[in-house]
């Protein structure tokens, strides 16, 4: 084993030099290769792995690279800009990288665990950021349609009037022609919040236009809906590690916190319908779940493997 490691180390040292057009010592390199038949395969592995990595990276934008299209720079909290830098960029995914595999079933699933986030970039100018505990079904042959089965996601869709973006959320349908919007679905309800452009809610039924700074909420199995004003900065704020609740039930709060942090929260059965408002930084909640208490005005206690939120 030690010998293999030593060979690999030597192969790496050569690879770091031969990869450069200025490298001249080919005879010395040849001599090294001739010393041991294991040298050439080790070198091949290192070079091929570096090439694989470079190709994978070439399909995704560089973190911190500021070649983003210039746009309303006055708005610092612009959600679209968040796609281009910061921690999320490391998770940015190039779907083009797996084109060899796109021959079969057109539907595929992208899923995150609680506490995990993921950014998916599709052809046709669609970027989707998935919050924790989210399941999204995408179509290989149609990047402009998707179905949110569970959880929460922020959509950034390039404007193309000839190809509206369609998102199915349970029994509801959202149609959009170039916007940034966030959709959340849990057991009881769905909501859509728009930070840019416009989203059409159930074109065949209620036909509601949701505009920037608005959030539409609709309970599952109901045609009833509510539209409320929200600050633009709240759309997709979870990408920056923040969660804001406005008149949310403790049950919803517990569900959202569990999805965002990966720590289990529950609502006490007696207080599940109690409504609270407040804004939380996920870092501090992860560090100490009890900080939720004073911020939302609720009690927090550890019980049966989860943090239970209840009335004070």
């Amino acid at each position: 084993m030690a010998r293999e490691d030593a060979i690999r180390e030597e192969a790496i040292a050569w690879a770091a030099r031969t990869g450069d057009p200025g490298f001249e010592e080919w005879d010395a390199f040849t001599t090294w290769l001739e010393e041991d038949a294991a040298h050439a395969p080790a070198y091949d592995r290192v070079m091929a792995t570096a090439d694989d990595a470079a190709e994978a990276l070439a399909t995704v934008p560089q973190p911190g690279n500021d070649n983003a299209p210039a746009e309303d720079s006055a708005d610092q909290s612009h959600p679209r800009r968040r796609f281009l830098g910061g921690a999320m960029a490391a998770a940015l995914i190039g779907v083009a990288a797996v084109s060899v595999w796109q021959l079969r079933d057109p539907a595929y699933v992208v899923e995150t665990a609680p506490g995990e986030t993921q950014l998916v970039e599709l052809e046709g100018g669609v970027q989707i950021a998935l919050a924790g505990n989210t399941r999204l079904v995408l179509q290989r042959d149609d990047p402009r349609s998707a179905s949110l089965e569970r959880g929460q996601a922020l959509f950034t869709v390039d404007h193309d009037p000839s190809a509206p973006y369609r998102l199915t959320v349970g029994e509801d349908t959202l149609v959009d022609v170039g916007t940034v919007f966030e959709v959340r679905r849990d057991a009881g309800a769905m909501s859509v919040a728009v930070s840019e452009g416009e989203v059409l809610f159930n074109a065949e039924r209620q036909r509601v236009r949701v505009r920037p700074g608005q959030r539409l909420t609709s309970a599952a199995g109901s045609d009833h809906y509510v539209v409320a004003a929200i600050p633009l900065a709240e759309v997709g704020e979870w990408q920056e590690g923040r969660l804001t609740f406005r008149d949310a039930t403790l049950e919803q709060v517990a569900g959202n916190l569990s999805a965002a942090t990966g720590t289990s929260f529950t609502a006490s059965p007696r207080a599940a319908a109690r409504v609270v408002s407040g804004s939380l930084m996920l870092d501090s909640v992860e560090a100490d779940p009890r900080t939720v208490g004073p911020l939302l005005g609720v009690s927090v206690r550890y019980q049966a493997g989860a943090w239970e939120l209840g009335a004070l």
């Binding site: 690999r8 005879d27 001739e34 091929a48 994978a56 070439a58 595929y108």
Partner: protein, 179 residues
């Protein structure tokens, strides 16, 4: 024929050093294919001659060795690709990955995506300079001398950064292959 100096030079250097190149290809693991590969190198420099788009080669002999080396890497990668495709089919049919849908294509999709994420993470863990140097060198193809100036480091520091990146990627690859 003065205008054609550089390419004529390349071909002349090839003919002069044919045996050295062959020996290199054999050492590189080409075996009996060494002659064929030598011919491929010749075709590549001939095509370069026809294209005339590229400038003169600063160091013709290095250029030839490099061309031969890249041919070998391509060969290794395409051979491995064929093996891997079969293996991935196996993985997909076992359905062993969590979080994927029932469709085999979805699982293989997740594998590719996961790999890209792991690569980015492995490089990020080495710090911003190592990560940036790897990207600039391997993705953007910037020569080391220029990179050393760009990052304000010595050539040996630059090489050491690249070694760290390659080592991290090789380790990642091993873990991945063990799965």
């Amino acid at each position: 024929m003065a205008a054609n100096d550089s390419s004529t030079g390349l071909e002349a250097v090839f003919l002069e050093n044919r045996e050295r190149l062959r020996r290199f290809l054999v050492a590189r693991g080409a075996g009996e294919a060494a002659e064929d590969l030598l011919h491929e190198v010749w075709l590549k420099i001939a095509a370069r001659d026809l294209g005339r788009s590229s400038g003169p080669v600063a160091s013709p002999l290095s250029y030839l060795f490099r061309t031969a080396d890249l041919l070998m890497i391509d060969r290794y990668r395409s051979a491995r690709q064929a093996v891997r495709r079969e293996r991935d089919w196996g993985v997909a049919q076992d359905g062993t990955l969590p979080g994927a849908s029932d469709a085999p294509s979805a699982e293989r999709h997740l594998i590719g995506r996961e790999q890209t994420r792991l690569v980015a993470e492995a490089l990020a863990a080495l710090g911003p300079r190592v990560e940036a140097i790897f990207r600039r060198h391997r993705v953007d193809g910037v020569p080391q001398r220029q990179l050393a100036q760009e990052f304000g480091v010595s050539l040996s520091t630059l090489e050491s950064d690249l070694r760290r990146a390659y080592a991290a990627l090789a380790q990642l690859k091993e873990q991945w292959d063990e799965v």
